[in-house]
């Protein structure tokens, strides 16, 4: 687990790219229990005004969260994690899908609680798909 002494405010967590394809949505629908039709049926997604099938917000949140858990070393150290879903991740039916790019930065530290607040950015192309994404983690 990452040590408090090794963390500085402003520290950058490098970008990680997550490919998001239709198969990932199918697998996530099954594992999570979220079978909302807009995540797998292009005809219905378009009929209700979406550009195409969109990814589950919670899948995007989970992928972004991994940038924090990999950085801190122990996923059990995540005390708080919140996001706002600002734009959908549109997943076309092709061999590429969408490409989610997530990075982070240490926004603040609390020496008494030995915690750090990490702010995350998550984009697909130029679209910001998560806003106000933050996690509070416990440090060793």
């Amino acid at each position: 687990m990452r040590a408090f002494a090794d963390v500085t405010v402003g520290e950058v967590i490098p970008d990680v790219t997550f490919p998001v394809q239709r198969v990932n949505l199918i697998q996530y629908a099954g594992a999570s229990g979220d079978a909302n039709i807009i995540h797998w049926n292009e005809r219905v997604a378009k009929a209700v005004g979406l550009p195409n099938v969109i990814a589950h917000g919670m899948l995007t949140m989970a992928e972004a969260g991994r940038v924090v858990t990999d950085w801190v070393g122990d996923p059990g150290a995540v005390l708080e994690y919140g996001v706002r879903f600002s734009k959908p991740v549109v997943v076309p039916d092709d061999d590429e899908g969408a490409s989610l790019v997530v990075g982070g930065r240490v926004e603040s530290v609390d020496p008494e609680a030995r915690t750090a607040t990490v702010v995350l950015t998550a984009k697909v192309g130029t679209d910001v798909v998560l806003q106000g994404a933050r996690a509070v983690v416990r440090l060793a």
Binding site: V48, G57, M61, T69, D74, V78, L79, Y81
Partner: protein, 154 residues
Amino acid sequence: MPLNREFIGREYPSSGVYEVAREKIRDFALAIGDRNPVYLDPDAARAAGHPDVIAPPTFLTVLGFRFAGDGPIADPALGLNYALVVHGEQRFTAHRPVRAGDRLVSTNVVDDIRDAGRNELILTRTEVVTEDGEKVATLHGTIVSRGTAAPRES
């Protein structure tokens, strides 16, 4: 059709106990593409100081769907068309990690239903505790019902 605001303040306890299984955690971890050994391997989890494999921070979303039938979203009287739903916000506060073997119960509360432009927002809070009453996590969620707000008088 606007949502039924009489749902504000209603509380929905889960109808049963959710027992967290190692294999369910594995399924979820693989579905989010995360092969962290503390999710998959009990020995690795114990080496990291956990009694058994732990679940990813967003795992408790599974509980929401498991008990969805007990909650407001599935109640036709709310008037929600699920195809018009997108997720607006989500926040987790973990009191401790969820781990295999946990026997969890939850209470889902409708904190508010309100207009946001042409959309409506449903704000919910879910308290997750063990069967014995140990606090595990609090979830705050906002779901968006697209385009269902009542037309405004000009």
